[in-house]
Symmetry: C2
Subunit: 432 residues, 2 copies
């Protein structure tokens, strides 16, 4: 008996059959004695339909949400949000009806009805506060709360929508506000894996993973959970369970529990291997050796809105000159190069080289805090396969290397094997 | 310079081209110096799509809104309203964007944002109160208010929707709350006609018509305006203009002004000829001549939920017995006959006759208050064409007759001609 929040994305409520299936899962939690709030997205395709209507009003605006948001420059974002939020409004009503039809008391809650207050940034709003004084008592009286995800109300009493992946954050923030015991994120995979199963068929689903590990994995390209939702859960010590919305009724579906590190994880040094191909490498050659040179480079990138990730300074063996290599997101490469060329005199360098065909491969694990030898195992495993390392970056629980993209799968498989990640894990534990 | 409310129905906002055309009309009123609030329906077809989704959740529920509402028995009407109201939410946002794109400041207003408060009757709610403290100042600052029609918020903070034709009533009630000078209802006809132009090609559009005449015409089957909206306008002395949403830009589109009777109408005795085929005639034969007999009949009908319209008592020439003839709505005939048969002993009559093939034809005009001879002209015109009158009913500004349906068109044309309704009217007057 407890209070839980369940979240279902667009493909999980894509049609009426899927909505009925969701009502079955919710009814099971109610039957188990839980108080349940459900956060739903729009039926898949519906948000795109609404965005296309807005786009078509602008003859000269290319379709696509990102492009659109850029083009509008904020001037009609308030109306855009009001239009797009109608998609979740429909789904929340339909699921509430489906639940009542099977005898489960339920009602829908729109962002303004809770209210879920956001800041003024339309279309990418951040949650400021979630009121629990109305929805809390309704839950306590035995009603399922079916909450329209992705939407809120801002200080001007207008509908606002959260950024991409915002429904995960809605769900976690709601769980925090409702002092829920757990937030269950239903998605199209059945949990968090030791690595991408398309690359390593022996990849295992993890029973548990620590928040810090999940944050590293999320930001490294494992796209299951939005980074902000994990941060929010970690800061509030709210366990998140990631599990499949596609599993048949009655089928075992334990998922992965994302929670604070605990005893069950202590045996494990490395939890997973992640990779990201969205990287580009830039090298500045023959740098003038003046104080503050790296700071000037970072400022040039920052002014251009480009985030610098891995960074390493080196000395050329041939002429003993200094050079600097760093990585940026692949989509930012052109912007970065243009900014560097414009600042060539101010920074002081002879030439630029760049490379898009690089991949960042990382091993992540909270056990690295107390275990040495992870770096050695990693570099040996890569060397054994003849894979060159271009750049290395480390954090307390992560080691990342930049390699030639051609070797991506080879490297991931070598590391998965080197850290014995295919081995049977400790027995599954029951979620709280 | 003044404040006006404009209302556009579903066919007037059916697609983005029509929404752009609406924005042109609104922009013209703004350019003329008016403060403008616009009430919009859902894009045509959208409400049906949403209703179909709800229907499909109930496998055993036949499609169709009326049937649906009946079946649900109120238990999911709150969710139904929340789902269906999303249609107007989308249109209001799209029109606000279309207006801004042409440089007209505009914003959408949902029922809960105004707020437009209703009673608790979901799906057929009545407006309780419209707050003008937010929308009024916004209008005064030069912003067009684009209001989602058909929807409100009830005491429980839930979305409610008004009954059928509710957008007309939304618009008029909003105009009253905003102390507007006029409410313009854009529809698929270009005004109120002296009679149905499909029956009488010479029928003329009226420049003006009195509220009382419009009420008689609306309740007699001319389906342009909802009766409740006309009552509300009359009680608040708010002129309504009915005009075409299909007219080309720049085309003369004066419409018909519905307002209190004034000097410009005084010349006219009869304003229009209306007819309704949705009538059935019931005759009770050889009635027991006891006190309260008519009251007992009316009670039997009232208990069965049947509205009795025209009523006439007669004496049979052959046997001197009393009989009673009255009309009910055609769809109520079976219910009425069953109720009468069940009450045959209590009422006391020998036999029942009924006839569905009857039509009510009416002449309406406020000039009848001060002019005699209308009835004579009417009966002579019908007699000249050999049309028998079954029942006669009159009010202060209306004479109705019940005739055999076969003669409907003949009767309407004869009356239109007898009252010179095809003649050129007084010169058009400018709407306020």
């Amino acid at each position: 008996m407890g209070r839980i929040v369940m979240k279902f994305g667009g493909t999980s409520v894509a049609d009426l059959d899927r909505i009925r299936a969701v009502s079955t899962r919710v009814a099971a939690e109610v039957a188990a004695g839980h108080e349940v709030a459900v956060v739903v997205s729009a039926m898949s395709g519906e948000t795109n339909r609404l965005v296309a209507l807005v786009d078509a009003l602008d003859a000269d605006c290319a379709p696509g949400e990102a492009k659109h948001a850029e083009k509008l420059g904020g001037d009609v974002h308030d109306e855009y949000d009001s239009i797009v939020a109608s998609g979740e409004q429909v789904t929340s009503g339909l699921l509430a009806i489906a639940l009542r039809r099977r005898g489960v008391p339920a009602r829908s809650w729109l962002g303004w009805q809770i209210p879920l207050r956001t800041d003024m940034a339309h279309s990418k709003a951040r949650i400021a506060e979630i009121e629990s004084s109305a929805i809390g008592p309704s839950l306590a009286q035995g009603n399922v709360a079916v909450v329209a995800g992705f939407q809120g109300i801002n200080e001007k009493h207008r509908v606002s929508t959260l950024g991409r992946g915002g429904s995960d954050t809605s769900a976690v923030a709601l769980a925090v506000a409702l002092k829920a015991d757990r937030c269950d994120i239903y998605t199209d995979v059945d949990g968090i894996y030791t690595t991408d199963p398309r690359v390593v068929p022996e990849a295992r689903r993890l029973n548990r993973i620590a928040f810090e590990e999940m944050l590293e994995l999320a930001s490294l390209g494992a796209k299951v959970l939005q980074v902000r939702s994990v941060e929010l859960a970690m800061n509030n010590n709210l366990p998140i369970r990631v599990l499949s919305s596609m599993a048949d009724e009655g089928q075992d579906n334990p998922g992965t529990l994302v929670c604070h590190e605990d005893q069950t994880m202590e045996e494990r040094v490395v939890s997973g291997v992640a990779y990201s191909r969205d990287e580009a490498q830039i090298t500045l050659l023959k740098l003038a050796d003046t104080p503050g040179m790296v700071a000037r480079i970072c400022k040039a990138m920052s002014d251009a809105g480009v985030i610098v990730d891995m960074i390493v300074q080196g000395i050329s063996r041939s002429d003993n000159s200094a050079n600097l290599t760093f990585t940026v997101g692949e989509r930012d490469l052109e912007t970065a190069l243009a900014a560097l060329e414009a600042a060539q005199d101010a920074i002081g360098f002879a030439d630029i080289k760049s490379d898009r065909d690089v991949t960042k491969v990382s091993v992540v694990g909270i056990g690295m805090r107390s275990h040495t030898g992870v770096a050695q195992t990693m570099f040996e495993a890569l060397a054994a396969k003849g894979i060159n390392i271009e750049v290395i970056a480390t954090s307390e629980i992560k080691i990342s290397v930049l390699i030639d993209s051609e070797y991506t799968e080879l490297a991931v498989r070598a590391l998965h094997s080197a850290f014995d990640l295919h081995e049977t894990p400790a027995p599954p534990v029951t979620a709280p």
